[in-house]
Symmetry: C2
Subunit: 154 residues, 2 copies
Protein backbone atom coordinates (compact mmCIF):
# COMPACT_ATOMS: atom_id res chain seq x y z
CA UNK A 1 0.00 0.00 0.00
CA UNK A 2 1.36 3.44 -0.91
CA UNK A 3 0.63 6.65 0.90
CA UNK A 4 0.07 9.93 -0.94
CA UNK A 5 1.59 12.12 1.77
CA UNK A 6 4.02 14.68 0.37
CA UNK A 7 7.33 14.95 2.20
CA UNK A 8 9.93 17.74 2.08
CA UNK A 9 11.58 16.06 -0.92
CA UNK A 10 8.28 15.95 -2.81
CA UNK A 11 7.28 19.63 -2.71
CA UNK A 12 7.17 21.10 -6.21
CA UNK A 13 9.03 24.41 -6.43
CA UNK A 14 8.05 27.42 -8.55
CA UNK A 15 4.43 26.55 -9.27
CA UNK A 16 1.86 29.11 -8.03
CA UNK A 17 -1.26 27.69 -6.41
CA UNK A 18 -4.36 29.74 -5.65
CA UNK A 19 -7.02 29.42 -2.98
CA UNK A 20 -10.29 27.85 -4.14
CA UNK A 21 -12.19 30.34 -1.96
CA UNK A 22 -12.16 34.13 -1.70
CA UNK A 23 -12.86 36.38 1.29
CA UNK A 24 -15.05 39.45 0.82
CA UNK A 25 -14.33 42.19 3.35
CA UNK A 26 -17.32 43.82 5.01
CA UNK A 27 -17.34 46.72 7.48
CA UNK A 28 -18.73 44.36 10.09
CA UNK A 29 -15.94 41.82 9.56
CA UNK A 30 -13.24 44.52 9.77
CA UNK A 31 -14.69 46.04 12.94
CA UNK A 32 -15.44 42.75 14.68
CA UNK A 33 -11.95 41.33 14.19
CA UNK A 34 -10.21 44.58 15.09
CA UNK A 35 -12.49 45.17 18.06
CA UNK A 36 -11.30 41.90 19.54
CA UNK A 37 -7.64 41.81 18.45
CA UNK A 38 -6.45 45.24 17.22
CA UNK A 39 -8.64 48.08 18.47
CA UNK A 40 -6.73 50.81 16.59
CA UNK A 41 -9.44 53.47 16.00
CA UNK A 42 -9.14 53.54 12.14
CA UNK A 43 -10.05 49.82 12.10
CA UNK A 44 -13.21 50.18 14.18
CA UNK A 45 -14.60 53.69 13.67
CA UNK A 46 -15.54 55.00 10.22
CA UNK A 47 -15.39 58.64 11.38
CA UNK A 48 -11.80 58.28 12.64
CA UNK A 49 -10.82 56.31 9.53
CA UNK A 50 -12.16 59.10 7.30
CA UNK A 51 -9.61 61.51 8.80
CA UNK A 52 -6.60 59.25 8.08
CA UNK A 53 -4.54 59.36 4.85
CA UNK A 54 -6.38 56.18 3.78
CA UNK A 55 -9.71 57.97 4.23
CA UNK A 56 -11.85 54.98 5.05
CA UNK A 57 -12.09 51.90 7.25
CA UNK A 58 -9.28 49.40 6.53
CA UNK A 59 -8.59 45.94 7.86
CA UNK A 60 -6.08 45.28 10.65
CA UNK A 61 -2.81 43.62 9.67
CA UNK A 62 -3.47 40.61 11.91
CA UNK A 63 -6.89 40.30 10.26
CA UNK A 64 -5.28 40.12 6.82
CA UNK A 65 -2.77 37.54 8.10
CA UNK A 66 -5.63 35.48 9.51
CA UNK A 67 -7.51 35.75 6.20
CA UNK A 68 -4.54 34.60 4.10
CA UNK A 69 -3.93 31.59 6.35
CA UNK A 70 -7.62 30.67 6.22
CA UNK A 71 -7.66 31.00 2.42
CA UNK A 72 -4.44 29.00 2.08
CA UNK A 73 -6.26 26.03 3.59
CA UNK A 74 -8.60 26.03 0.55
CA UNK A 75 -5.77 25.31 -1.89
CA UNK A 76 -6.45 21.81 -3.13
CA UNK A 77 -3.50 19.54 -2.42
CA UNK A 78 -2.53 16.21 -1.00
CA UNK A 79 -1.66 15.78 2.64
CA UNK A 80 1.85 16.96 3.49
CA UNK A 81 4.30 16.24 6.29
CA UNK A 82 4.25 19.86 7.55
CA UNK A 83 4.94 20.15 11.27
CA UNK A 84 4.90 23.87 11.96
CA UNK A 85 5.86 27.31 10.70
CA UNK A 86 9.29 28.26 12.05
CA UNK A 87 8.76 31.86 11.09
CA UNK A 88 7.79 34.43 8.51
CA UNK A 89 10.10 36.91 6.80
CA UNK A 90 9.43 40.27 5.18
CA UNK A 91 5.75 40.56 6.07
CA UNK A 92 4.64 43.58 4.02
CA UNK A 93 1.33 45.41 4.09
CA UNK A 94 1.48 46.80 0.55
CA UNK A 95 -1.85 48.61 0.43
CA UNK A 96 -4.95 48.89 2.59
CA UNK A 97 -7.74 46.34 2.28
CA UNK A 98 -11.11 48.09 2.47
CA UNK A 99 -14.83 47.33 2.51
CA UNK A 100 -15.89 45.42 -0.60
CA UNK A 101 -12.45 44.02 -1.40
CA UNK A 102 -12.50 40.42 -2.60
CA UNK A 103 -9.33 38.72 -1.40
CA UNK A 104 -7.63 35.52 -2.53
CA UNK A 105 -4.39 33.78 -1.59
CA UNK A 106 -1.56 32.81 -3.91
CA UNK A 107 1.11 30.46 -2.62
CA UNK A 108 4.38 29.49 -4.34
CA UNK A 109 7.01 27.15 -2.90
CA UNK A 110 10.38 28.73 -3.70
CA UNK A 111 13.21 26.93 -1.96
CA UNK A 112 14.09 23.65 -0.22
CA UNK A 113 16.48 24.10 2.72
CA UNK A 114 18.24 21.56 4.93
CA UNK A 115 17.57 21.67 8.66
CA UNK A 116 19.96 20.99 11.54
CA UNK A 117 17.85 17.91 12.29
CA UNK A 118 18.46 15.33 9.56
CA UNK A 119 14.88 14.03 9.61
CA UNK A 120 13.48 17.49 8.88
CA UNK A 121 13.69 20.13 6.19
CA UNK A 122 12.37 23.61 5.55
CA UNK A 123 10.39 24.83 2.56
CA UNK A 124 10.44 28.61 1.91
CA UNK A 125 7.07 29.61 0.51
CA UNK A 126 5.88 32.97 -0.84
CA UNK A 127 2.39 33.94 0.35
CA UNK A 128 0.49 36.75 -1.39
CA UNK A 129 -2.95 38.12 -0.60
CA UNK A 130 -4.42 39.80 -3.70
CA UNK A 131 -7.55 41.87 -4.20
CA UNK A 132 -10.09 41.90 -7.05
CA UNK A 133 -7.82 44.28 -9.03
CA UNK A 134 -4.99 41.71 -8.82
CA UNK A 135 -3.04 44.08 -6.55
CA UNK A 136 -0.93 42.57 -3.79
CA UNK A 137 -2.31 43.62 -0.40
CA UNK A 138 -0.03 41.53 1.81
CA UNK A 139 2.96 39.28 1.21
CA UNK A 140 5.45 37.30 3.24
CA UNK A 141 7.81 34.33 3.08
CA UNK A 142 6.82 31.37 5.24
CA UNK A 143 9.48 28.95 6.52
CA UNK A 144 7.62 25.67 6.91
CA UNK A 145 9.23 22.80 8.81
CA UNK A 146 8.45 19.43 7.22
CA UNK A 147 9.42 15.83 7.77
CA UNK A 148 11.76 14.30 5.21
CA UNK A 149 10.93 10.99 3.56
CA UNK A 150 11.69 8.22 6.07
CA UNK A 151 14.79 6.18 5.30
CA UNK A 152 13.83 2.61 4.43
CA UNK A 153 16.34 0.13 5.93
CA UNK A 154 18.22 -1.82 3.22
CA UNK B 1 -2.79 74.87 24.52
CA UNK B 2 -0.31 72.00 24.10
CA UNK B 3 -1.07 68.54 22.84
CA UNK B 4 0.53 65.44 24.34
CA UNK B 5 0.63 63.49 21.09
CA UNK B 6 3.98 61.76 20.54
CA UNK B 7 5.47 62.20 17.09
CA UNK B 8 8.24 60.18 15.39
CA UNK B 9 10.86 62.50 16.95
CA UNK B 10 9.43 61.92 20.43
CA UNK B 11 9.57 58.13 20.63
CA UNK B 12 11.97 56.99 23.34
CA UNK B 13 14.36 54.30 22.14
CA UNK B 14 15.65 51.33 24.14
CA UNK B 15 13.09 51.30 26.94
CA UNK B 16 11.07 48.09 27.26
CA UNK B 17 7.36 48.48 27.96
CA UNK B 18 5.08 45.66 29.02
CA UNK B 19 1.39 45.04 28.51
CA UNK B 20 -0.80 45.81 31.51
CA UNK B 21 -2.90 42.76 30.71
CA UNK B 22 -2.07 39.09 30.15
CA UNK B 23 -3.81 36.49 28.00
CA UNK B 24 -4.41 33.01 29.40
CA UNK B 25 -4.67 30.34 26.71
CA UNK B 26 -7.52 27.85 27.03
CA UNK B 27 -8.26 24.84 24.82
CA UNK B 28 -11.49 26.53 23.78
CA UNK B 29 -9.70 29.74 22.75
CA UNK B 30 -7.07 27.82 20.74
CA UNK B 31 -9.69 25.70 18.96
CA UNK B 32 -12.14 28.54 18.28
CA UNK B 33 -9.56 30.83 16.74
CA UNK B 34 -7.94 28.06 14.69
CA UNK B 35 -11.30 26.66 13.62
CA UNK B 36 -12.10 29.99 12.03
CA UNK B 37 -8.69 31.09 10.73
CA UNK B 38 -6.19 28.22 10.70
CA UNK B 39 -7.87 24.79 10.77
CA UNK B 40 -4.61 22.84 10.88
CA UNK B 41 -5.60 19.64 12.74
CA UNK B 42 -3.07 19.98 15.63
CA UNK B 43 -4.68 23.34 16.52
CA UNK B 44 -8.24 22.00 16.73
CA UNK B 45 -8.09 18.31 17.66
CA UNK B 46 -6.41 17.10 20.86
CA UNK B 47 -6.04 13.54 19.52
CA UNK B 48 -4.18 14.69 16.42
CA UNK B 49 -2.07 17.11 18.48
CA UNK B 50 -1.04 14.27 20.81
CA UNK B 51 0.62 12.48 17.88
CA UNK B 52 2.76 15.49 16.84
CA UNK B 53 6.27 16.19 18.19
CA UNK B 54 4.70 18.88 20.41
CA UNK B 55 2.38 16.26 21.89
CA UNK B 56 -0.51 18.53 22.78
CA UNK B 57 -2.80 21.23 21.43
CA UNK B 58 -0.87 24.41 20.54
CA UNK B 59 -2.03 27.82 19.37
CA UNK B 60 -1.98 28.83 15.71
CA UNK B 61 0.67 31.36 14.68
CA UNK B 62 -1.94 33.89 13.56
CA UNK B 63 -3.63 33.45 16.94
CA UNK B 64 -0.39 34.35 18.74
CA UNK B 65 0.10 37.35 16.45
CA UNK B 66 -3.45 38.49 17.21
CA UNK B 67 -2.84 38.04 20.94
CA UNK B 68 0.38 40.07 20.95
CA UNK B 69 -1.27 42.93 19.05
CA UNK B 70 -4.22 42.88 21.44
CA UNK B 71 -1.91 42.89 24.45
CA UNK B 72 0.23 45.67 22.98
CA UNK B 73 -2.83 47.93 23.11
CA UNK B 74 -2.78 47.60 26.92
CA UNK B 75 0.64 49.22 27.24
CA UNK B 76 -0.05 52.53 28.94
CA UNK B 77 1.20 55.40 26.81
CA UNK B 78 0.22 58.73 25.40
CA UNK B 79 -1.40 59.06 22.02
CA UNK B 80 1.06 58.74 19.13
CA UNK B 81 1.05 59.82 15.51
CA UNK B 82 1.21 56.22 14.22
CA UNK B 83 -0.41 55.78 10.83
CA UNK B 84 0.09 52.14 9.97
CA UNK B 85 2.45 49.19 10.09
CA UNK B 86 4.49 49.02 6.90
CA UNK B 87 5.61 45.52 7.66
CA UNK B 88 7.07 43.02 10.08
CA UNK B 89 10.47 41.37 9.84
CA UNK B 90 11.81 38.10 11.26
CA UNK B 91 8.56 36.82 12.71
CA UNK B 92 9.71 33.81 14.74
CA UNK B 93 7.63 31.17 16.50
CA UNK B 94 10.22 30.19 19.12
CA UNK B 95 8.21 27.61 21.04
CA UNK B 96 4.63 26.36 21.14
CA UNK B 97 2.03 28.12 23.27
CA UNK B 98 -0.18 25.57 24.98
CA UNK B 99 -3.23 25.35 27.25
CA UNK B 100 -2.65 27.18 30.53
CA UNK B 101 0.07 29.47 29.23
CA UNK B 102 -0.18 33.04 30.51
CA UNK B 103 1.08 35.37 27.83
CA UNK B 104 2.22 38.98 27.99
CA UNK B 105 3.68 41.39 25.45
CA UNK B 106 6.97 43.27 25.70
CA UNK B 107 7.62 46.11 23.29
CA UNK B 108 10.88 48.03 22.80
CA UNK B 109 11.42 50.82 20.27
CA UNK B 110 14.86 50.23 18.76
CA UNK B 111 15.51 52.55 15.84
CA UNK B 112 14.29 55.78 14.23
CA UNK B 113 14.47 55.71 10.42
CA UNK B 114 13.84 58.42 7.84
CA UNK B 115 11.13 57.83 5.24
CA UNK B 116 11.07 58.83 1.58
CA UNK B 117 8.22 61.19 2.51
CA UNK B 118 9.66 64.07 4.56
CA UNK B 119 6.55 64.40 6.75
CA UNK B 120 6.82 60.78 7.87
CA UNK B 121 9.26 58.51 9.66
CA UNK B 122 9.54 54.86 10.65
CA UNK B 123 10.14 53.43 14.11
CA UNK B 124 11.53 49.88 14.26
CA UNK B 125 10.06 48.17 17.31
CA UNK B 126 10.82 44.75 18.80
CA UNK B 127 7.71 42.80 19.84
CA UNK B 128 8.02 39.77 22.13
CA UNK B 129 5.30 37.51 23.44
CA UNK B 130 6.46 35.79 26.64
CA UNK B 131 4.92 33.03 28.73
CA UNK B 132 4.70 32.61 32.51
CA UNK B 133 8.22 31.07 32.53
CA UNK B 134 9.57 34.25 30.89
CA UNK B 135 10.32 32.26 27.71
CA UNK B 136 9.89 34.02 24.38
CA UNK B 137 7.07 32.37 22.42
CA UNK B 138 6.95 34.77 19.48
CA UNK B 139 9.01 37.75 18.36
CA UNK B 140 9.18 40.12 15.43
CA UNK B 141 10.29 43.59 14.41
CA UNK B 142 7.49 46.01 13.53
CA UNK B 143 8.13 48.91 11.14
CA UNK B 144 5.64 51.55 12.23
CA UNK B 145 4.99 54.55 10.00
CA UNK B 146 4.48 57.76 12.02
CA UNK B 147 3.96 61.42 11.31
CA UNK B 148 6.87 63.72 12.09
CA UNK B 149 6.40 66.82 14.19
CA UNK B 150 4.77 69.48 11.97
CA UNK B 151 7.09 72.30 10.93
CA UNK B 152 5.94 75.59 12.48
CA UNK B 153 6.31 78.49 10.00
CA UNK B 154 8.83 81.10 11.15
Amino acid sequence: MTTSIRYWEDMELGKMEESAETFTLTAQAIKEFAGQWDPFPPHIDEAVAARTPIGQLFAAGVHLLSIIIRLSHTIPHEETSSIAARGWDQVRFHRPAVVGDILRAQVTHLERKEDHRPERGVIVTRFELRNQHDQVVLSFFNNVVMLRRPVVPA
